[in-house]
């Protein structure tokens, strides 16, 4: 009689590789079939998820292009420096021979910025940087210089987009869920209607809303005109740098709020009715029931909804591509739009990958925050 361990040693290689250490030999069919059945899906995930993901990190340190006769070279952190360099620089006023500040047309005269950022041997660290923004501090002028104005604009826009849309869409979705979470006839009809835009493609929604937002004959301007008895001045919602991003936010909420409403509803239904009955017996009113029964029961749902919206928002692309192409004046540039512009349109895979890596780091931090907030507390 052989022991199990001896029998295992004599078994063919594939059995020793695939069979769990503590499993009896007669289960080798299980092991083989199990492996074979998982293999096709695993192969796809490796080729189209794991490899591209790992490649993003490697390529972002090179100068890889989509099609190039030359092999890619190692560039170190160059791509990230080019995307993320930010420096503050103080311009001192021009002074005349007596040391007095020179004024012209009521304003202080400063030396030209390009004297410092173009081939100035005294300021090598400023070479090639461009002005992002500036402000007055005393007589001096503080200038924020960045290497890549458009990308930084895109990064800020995307973060603004995500941090506005997360509470806005999550909150509205909760209000809708609370409204729908009552036993009224036909309530499911309303649920179906509120959810409907979710199944409509974002491309379709964006193109449709381009017309709604139109500056001349747009539905929104006409509607606001009617509601204000003609006193509303038409706005070119997508053509104005101040209203373009808010317009995209409003439309995105309209399209996706039903999605998160459904997640809230699922969360609401996990709260036992007996808790509400107990609260009623204790004389709790509507707000108190929400504050002390509903909200504590929704804590994990709340974190989930906020995180899901934030991560989806970080991927902002379609709305920008269809509605504004990043304009006006870069007011709607987004991180993914820039990744596609550079990685695909300009075929600069390395820079596109570097942007992707930056995006992943942000998403990773958000996801870890969720882990931390929903951890089991005992």
């Amino acid at each position: 009689m052989l022991t199990a361990a001896e029998a295992r040693k004599k078994a063919p290689l594939w059995v020793r590789l695939l069979l769990p250490k503590d499993a009896p030999l007669y289960q080798r069919n299980d092991a083989l079939f199990g492996w074979l059945m998982a293999l096709p899906a695993l192969l796809i995930l490796i080729v189209f998820l794991v490899i591209p993901f790992l490649m993003a990190f490697v390529i972002s340190f090179t100068n890889q292009r989509l099609i190039s006769p030359n092999p890619a070279e190692w560039m170190g952190l160059r791509n990230f420096e080019r995307l993320l360099s930010v420096r503050a620089f103080t311009l001192e006023p021009e002074r005349d021979d007596s040391g007095a500040i020179v004024y012209q047309d009521g304003g202080i005269v400063y030396p030209r910025l390009r004297n410092f950022t173009r081939n100035n041997p005294n300021y090598p660290e400023l070479d090639g940087l461009r002005e992002f923004t500036s402000w007055q501090s005393g007589d001096n002028r503080t200038v924020i210089l960045v290497a890549d104005v458009v990308f930084l604009r895109a990064l800020i826009n995307t973060l603004v987009f995500a941090s506005v849309i997360a509470p806005l869409q999550g909150g509205l979705a909760l209000l809708l869920a609370l409204l729908l979470n009552q036993a009224l006839p036909f309530i499911n009809v309303f649920r179906a209607i509120y959810f409907a835009p979710v199944v409509v493609s974002m491309v379709v929604v964006s193109l449709l809303w381009r017309f709604i937002y139109d500056g001349n004959n747009g539905l929104l301007n006409n509607l606001l005109g009617i509601l204000s008895f003609g006193s509303f001045q038409p706005v070119d919602w997508l053509g104005n740098p101040y209203s373009a991003l808010p317009a995209i936010i409003a439309m995105s909420v309209w399209q996706a709020v039903g999605f998160h409403m459904v997640i809230w509803l699922a969360g609401l239904q996990t709260i036992p009715a007996s808790l509400y009955e107990a609260a009623s017996l204790d004389g709790a009113g509507g707000w108190q029931k929400f504050r002390y029964v509903t909200w504590p029961g929704l804590r994990n749902t709340a974190v989930l909804v906020l995180i899901v919206i934030t991560i989806q928002a970080m991927g902002l692309f379609v709305q920008v591509d269809v509605m504004t192409r990043g304009g006006p004046l870069d007011a709607t540039q987004s991180v993914v739009y820039q990744a596609v512009q550079r990685g695909f349109e300009k075929q600069d895979i390395a820079e596109g990958s570097a942007i992707s890596v930056i995006l992943f780091v942000i998403v990773f931090v958000i996801a870890m925050t969720q882990r931390y907030l929903t951890r089991e507390r005992r």
């Binding site: 069979l19 080729v47 189209f48 993901f53 409204l179 179906a192 449709l208 997640i263 989930l304 995006l359």
Partner: protein, 293 residues
């Protein structure tokens, strides 16, 4: 208020709730209604109608002319075929691959499966946008056996629109969760009766997996039908383009709004009908994916 009976106040409150529900419903319905109604009107009338509630009504000079013109301007039939083809192949293949993998994870014992499963769950936090650009490079360097032997590069093909999406970690996980909650006796009894592993999968487990098959199919359908960023980057030829990318024809034509609305209606109405018919399943799939994902 005191003069009112309890019943009157109750009815009033119910009435107010419905008024609110209906008001909100109009916000969600009217843009879609506007799209469909406008698609039936000549451009001039459509623009005039935006100044009144007529924008949402099928009134005036109603016809299908915009549809006819959209068909003439854009190879819609080709685009629709491409989308139907890539979507249906992806949905079918992903159901098979994801459920097979999940079956293996749930019922069969083999080495390394625990760690692979946790890796699969870990990939949930990688958004498609992060890997899209390096995936373009991967796709551009993969071999394919074509009519003229082995070719390098998957760009501009049907398979580049399908194969990367025929397995996904969310799909595997949804099936796995469903299978894990099934009673073990199902599989054990079948084994005692001498059923093979494939028979257990195909004849016993899959026939009772209806609800999760519907969920996975709907999620995959929405992703594939609405695909935009990936085909935008990988498809050059008109003959291979899916409908959402086909919409680009209209991006620059600000004058032809009627045709745009006709095209938008054509790509949306089938999905909306599908949704209304399977409304409960759609909403439950989203709820499941949201909670698990």
């Amino acid at each position: 208020m005191n003069a009112m009976s309890f019943e009157t106040r109750h009815n009033l409150s119910i009435g107010l709730r419905y008024a609110l529900l209906i008001l909100i419903a109009t916000i969600f319905i009217f843009p879609i209604l506007f799209m469909v109604m406008s698609s039936l009107k000549p451009d001039l009338q459509m623009l005039r109608d935006t100044a009144s509630l007529r924008a949402f009504l099928p009134v005036g000079d109603i016809s299908l002319n915009n549809y006819a013109e959209a068909f003439e301007r854009v190879p819609i039939v080709q685009f629709a075929f491409n989308s139907v083809f890539t979507t249906s192949v992806s949905v079918a293949a992903s159901l098979l691959l994801n459920s097979m993998a999940a079956f293996s994870f749930a019922f069969l014992q083999w080495r390394g499966k625990a760690i692979l499963l946790s890796l699969i769950i870990a990939t949930f936090i990688v958004p498609f946008e992060v890997i899209a650009i390096p995936m373009l490079l991967v796709a551009n360097n993969l071999p394919w056996i074509g009519p003229e032997g082995i070719e390098i590069g998957w760009l501009n093909s049907y398979h580049v629109q399908i194969i990367p999406f025929i397995a996904d970690s969310l799909g595997i996980f949804l099936f796995y969760q469903y299978f894990r909650d099934l009673p073990d006796e199902l599989v054990e009894a079948a084994r005692i009766d001498g059923a093979s592993i494939w028979q257990i999968y195909a004849r016993i487990i899959m026939p009772i997996a209806g609800p999760i098959v519907a969920t996975a199919a709907i999620l995959k359908f929405l992703v594939m039908w609405n695909a935009y960023i990936w085909p935008l980057m990988t498809i050059r030829s008109e003959e291979l383009r899916p409908i959402m990318v086909g919409l680009q024809y209209f991006f620059q034509l600000n004058v032809a709004w009627g045709e745009i609305m006709a095209y938008l209606s054509m790509v949306t109405i089938p999905v909306l009908i599908f949704y209304l018919a399977l409304q409960r399943a759609f909403i439950e799939s989203i709820a499941t994916s949201g909670i698990k994902g």
